[in-house]
């Protein structure tokens, strides 16, 4: 069996690539575009940080992306709790409804401002902690990699040997 099965596994089971679409090249082109846009700040957007929540587990090896993701996280960590313009689309009762909404907002703000501002502080502290840890471990790993290279160079036989 061995030789026959080996023969089978040596012969191509499948053929590779369609003749007129090189998707490897297309993906490289897409990734190059992304790298350029990322450097230009096109993706510095809190919406992307939110969109990536289900993808974080797959980004563990993407050093550059994680750095970028942490920047996005910094943007999104600070929840907007400031006042905003209160409007009413329904014409007839608009002035009354606007006053009512303003009253509700001022009551809500009175009770929730302290909570949300503390939450913002917590968010900010967590992001800072994650950034610091990331920086610290990145530096430590780089130092260890350099040390491993150094030791490998010391232990490897010279070219002349």
């Amino acid at each position: 069996m061995t030789s026959r099965m080996k023969q089978e596994s040596d012969s191509p089971l499948f053929t590779v690539h369609a003749p007129d679409v090189d998707v490897d090249a297309l993906v490289r082109e897409i990734q190059a575009t992304v790298d350029r846009k990322m450097a230009d700040g096109v993706y510095a957007d809190a919406r992307i940080a939110r969109a990536e929540r289900a993808n974080l587990i797959h980004l563990q090896d993407e050093d550059q992306f994680l750095e970028f993701y942490l920047r996005c996280l910094r943007d999104v960590a600070s929840v907007d709790i400031s006042d905003f313009e209160i409007r009413e689309r329904r014409r007839g009762l608009a002035p009354l409804l606007v006053r009512l909404k303003k009253l509700i907002w001022s009551l809500l703000k009175f009770y929730t401002y302290r909570l949300w501002s503390q939450q913002n502080q917590v968010n900010g502290l967590i992001v800072t902690a994650v950034e610091t840890m990331d920086k610290k471990y990145t530096e430590r790993i780089r130092a260890l990699e350099a040390r491993v290279r150094e030791l490998e160079a010391q232990n490897s036989p010279s070219d002349d040997a």
Partner: protein
């Protein structure tokens, strides 16, 4: 081929009607083709249809389905589900799990003593036994009854369950393997050292179809382009990622692209995206093919696939695909066919989708390339040739 005349196929569920799943569909279709070739096929399965509850809601006993003799056996009801779930959670989180825990987990997984008893008493009647997928107690225990005539169609993914030490025993004991793709075979080689001499890449054949690209849009009154996902909607399949990405894509680019979902499963969608998601649930094969034909692209964000049946179907509908770069099998299919591109993260996704939207000739070329690939590699004639060769060689050299 004359030596393999009577084959048993073992699968925890029998793909029939609403009971669907990739592995179930694969084994059912292979069984149908084997039976159509004149061989006798007995399909051994359980009375369960729901892959969450595993409730025995079909009557036990034998039934003729087409050319198949299907025998339904009850799922064991003495499972300790809370223990099973507790250990499963540890495994899923890649926590510390002892050999004893693994054995408790598989013992309390989906099992059927009645099915195993049938194999013990009647198993000699089968020239070979094909079974899968690998991670069910039923398959794990059934494989140990006649390991020298068992061929595992594992539908293997790189997931925490694949790293259990008991799985090394399973993969080390059976006669041979029927893999779906080369990356799946490579994964088994890496994890279990499965020798090439005992394995073959077979896959599943697909029937060529033609579907009108405008039928689905007309039927549902859709004028905007849409991305399509077909299959189970759950985190493991990447559904939350798809919906989060599309929410961000619409908000950031201002492009009017909808999402169409076929299949089953609950999901959360933001209020902003909700009006742009059309969930048609289970549809007929014809409607699914029409939905595929009319889609801007088919999206398959799952990283846990061993073949990608719906991806291949979307190519038959001449629709290009977007897949997750971490899904080795789907990325491999895209690279070999020229029918799809892969994304690592949202920026890749956005750029790739914009590129596909703005370049209809590229989309058409990719769709054609995908279709040509499926017609070539996954025609039943090609799959059957691989299957007969594998069964004959693996069986004869016992």
């Amino acid at each position: 081929m004359t030596s393999v005349r009577h084959i048993a196929v073992v699968c925890p569920r029998f793909a029939d009607g609403a009971t669907v799943g990739g592995a179930e569909t694969l084994l059912r279709r292979l069984a149908d083709r084997i039976a159509a070739s004149g061989r006798q096929v007995t399909f051994l399965t359980t009375c369960a249809q729901n892959h969450h509850t595993w409730e025995n809601n079909l009557p036990p006993g034998q039934k003729k389905v087409g050319a198949l003799d299907v025998i339904y056996f009850p799922v064991d009801e003495n499972r300790d589900i809370s223990t099973f779930l507790r250990v499963q959670e540890s495994i899923s989180n890649r926590g510390a799990v002892t050999r004893e825990d693994e054995e408790i987990w598989i013992k309390n997984s989906v099992n059927s003593q009645a099915l195993c008893d049938h194999l013990k008493t009647q198993g000699n009647a089968y020239d070979c036994i094909i079974m899968g997928p690998y991670l069910f107690g039923l398959v794990f225990h059934a494989a140990q009854i006649f390991p020298d005539r068992t061929f595992l169609a594992p539908c293997l993914h790189d997931e925490p369950f694949a790293w259990l030490s008991i799985m090394k025993d399973l993969f080390g004991s059976v006669r041979g393997f029927l893999f779906n793709t080369e990356p799946e075979r490579e994964l088994a080689r890496r994890l279990f050292g499965t020798p090439d001499e005992r394995s073959a890449v077979v896959g599943m054949g697909l029937d060529v179809f033609d579907a009108h690209p405008e039928s689905f849009g007309h039927k549902h009154g859709m004028t905007a382009p849409y991305l399509l996902y077909s299959g189970r909607r759950e985190p493991l399949k990447g559904t939350p990622l798809l919906l989060d990405y599309m929410d961000a894509f619409r908000a950031r680019t201002g492009r009017d692209v909808n999402v169409v979902l076929t299949g089953s499963g609950a999901y959360d969608v933001s209020p902003e995206l909700a009006p742009h998601v059309l969930d048609v649930g289970f549809v007929s094969e014809q409607e699914k093919h029409e939905a595929m034909a009319g889609a801007l692209a088919f999206i398959h964000p799952s990283v846990n696939e061993s073949l990608g049946i719906v991806l291949l179907e979307s190519w038959l509908a001449r629709t290009p695909a977007l897949v997750h770069a971490r899904g080795e099998v789907l990325r491999w299919q895209c690279a070999r066919s020229g029918g799809g591109v892969w994304f690592r993260h949202y920026p890749d996704f956005e750029t790739a989708l914009l590129r596909l939207m703005d370049d209809p000739p590229l989309r058409a070329r990719m769709g054609e390339a995908g279709r040509a690939y499926v017609e070539r590699e996954y025609a039943w004639s090609a799959v059957e040739a691989r299957l007969w060769a594998a069964l004959e060689i693996l069986h004869q050299d016992r």
